[in-house]
């Protein structure tokens, strides 16, 4: 559902998915049900100011009502900057940011994630950095630093270690990015 549709269209509650609430709770949004929709988080949310159709309060309400498709068809959940101002002000200790993360986890389980996230995950697995600029070496040298930072990019063993860790996480089970054994 695009933002225009979300604004105009009728949401059919009888087609809602009541399993969404439990899924969110299991994926890190334990405090979901504490929310009383007071809108204090929305008052503190940069996504509201920027004009995204879904944000903390609305995402939580949509989860309450089981509007899985409405949330998955919109990119809003991926725009949260994790500023956590909502978590700081929430009078119900809901951790709204954590609910958005949990909704992303739901989306990922349905392969509904933006290309940038896939690229970030791939880059994390391949280099150890979610943001990796292959051409950054020159810039680093220009300011007097070694071409590579002292991270996984400069330590093949450390990268192998990290990859071993990632291969034991849910990311591997989901098969979102290729995770070949190094050297295979």
């Amino acid at each position: 559902m695009s933002s225009e549709q979300a604004a105009r269209g009728v949401i059919n509650l009888s087609e809602s998915d009541s399993s969404l609430v439990n899924e969110i709770k299991e994926l890190g949004g334990e405090e979901l049900m504490e929310c009383i929709q007071c809108a204090k988080c929305a008052a503190a949310c940069p996504m509201v100011l920027a004009g995204f159709p879904f944000f903390n309060k609305r995402i939580i309400q949509a989860i309450f009502l089981g509007l899985r498709d409405a949330l998955l068809d919109d990119s809003s959940i991926w725009a949260c900057q994790s500023c956590n101002r909502c978590t700081e002000v929430c009078p119900r200790e809901v951790n709204p940011f954590e609910i958005i993360q949990a909704m992303r986890r739901v989306a990922i389980r349905e392969f509904a994630l933006p290309t940038l996230s896939i690229e970030g995950l791939k880059s994390l697995y391949d280099t150890g950095h979610a943001v990796y600029l292959a051409g950054a070496g020159n810039t680093r040298v220009k300011v007097g630093l070694p071409e590579k930072p002292p991270s996984t990019v400069a330590n093949p063993d450390a990268l192998k270690e990290l990859q071993a860790v990632i291969r034991k996480t849910a990311l591997a089970d989901l098969g979102i990015i290729p995770m070949d054994e190094p050297g295979v």
Binding site: P46, E88, Q101, G120, P150, A158
Partner: protein, 296 residues
């Protein structure tokens, strides 16, 4: 004094001049930096944290254990790394079952997360371990006569429950202000001080919407403070405020330019660092303000 330096991605690849500033300033103040060899991404919010809690904590925990083995605290200059590392630590320290699952994963690579190292942010670390007075004594150049506007950054403040160093009042932060005042700057207050700059996931999702926030912020700074310089406490805010101005000017949203530097860059300059090395990658024109600092 010694501390583990967590570089992260954006600083290492986008703004290595900021990395260089940290590498200059800390030793100049008598604090040795350990490289935490083999560190990886924190991991950043849009990656592992968006997949599952244990996976996020496991990648974070590997970084924590590197510091734990050396008996060092972690210090980072990036708000996102600060947030992600502090939050994964908080989760593992308050949820034994998460910690146990993480350690089950780490066992295979011979590591164990214990929770003995704290996660710190550069300017908070200096504020608490040295204090503004010692820094004042150590600098060669001062910001006397310069009016600055601050951008502390969301991750330096919230969620306060996960952080080791916290503001007394997270909605009226004082630490970065006191640090800049110690360097001699006049810190102007503007009413959108704690508003988000729009960097991060929002910018990658919708640049246009993200720029609405930085525009509002810059205009509030310009109208209420008219600063010579913007000083940030977070590397992500640095990138946003520094790169957005050119684009906002070309789309006629603003008609001014304010130089932007991270606090650690300003501190490095004050301590005598080579401006090319510690500020050389700024997109805004910082040359005039840098010269004034070096004269000050």
């Amino acid at each position: 004094m010694k501390v583990g330096f967590f570089v992260g991605c954006n600083t290492a690849f986008n703004r290595p001049d900021l990395e260089q500033a940290v590498r200059y300033a800390f030793p100049a103040l008598g604090i040795e930096l350990d490289n935490l060899e083999g560190q990886s991404c924190c991991p950043s919010w849009g990656t592992m944290p968006s997949v599952d809690v244990v996976g996020w904590c496991a990648v974070g925990a590997r970084n924590h254990t590197i510091a734990e083995e050396k008996g060092l605290d972690i210090v980072t200059v990036c708000g996102s790394c600060y947030g992600s590392l502090a939050e994964s630590k908080y989760k593992m320290d308050t949820h034994p079952e998460i910690k146990a699952q993480v350690n089950e994963i780490l066992k295979d690579i011979g590591r164990e997360y214990k929770g003995t190292s704290n996660v710190r942010l550069t300017f908070y670390y200096l504020y608490h371990e040295l204090g503004p007075d010692k820094i004042k004594e150590a600098v060669k150049h001062k910001l006397d006569g310069l009016t600055v506007a601050l951008q502390p950054g969301c991750h330096t403040l919230w969620p306060s429950k996960v952080y080791y160093d916290k503001e007394e009042d997270t909605f009226h932060p004082r630490v970065l202000k006191e640090m800049c005042e110690a360097l001699g700057a006049t810190v102007g207050h503007y009413t959108r001080l704690i508003d988000c700059c729009g960097m991060g996931a929002m910018r990658s999702t919708d640049m246009e919407k993200s720029f609405k926030l930085v525009e509002k912020k810059l205009i509030s700074m310009k109208n209420e403070v008219n600063p010579d310089l913007i000083i940030t406490g977070c590397s992500s805010c640095l990138i946003q405020l520094d790169t957005a101005q050119d684009l906002l000017r070309s789309s006629k949203k603003i008609n001014f330019e304010i130089p932007v530097l991270h606090f650690m860059q300003v501190l490095a300059l004050c301590l005598g660092a080579d401006p090319e090395r510690v500020t050389g990658l700024a997109k805004t024109d910082v040359s005039r303000v840098v010269n004034r600092i070096l004269e000050g």
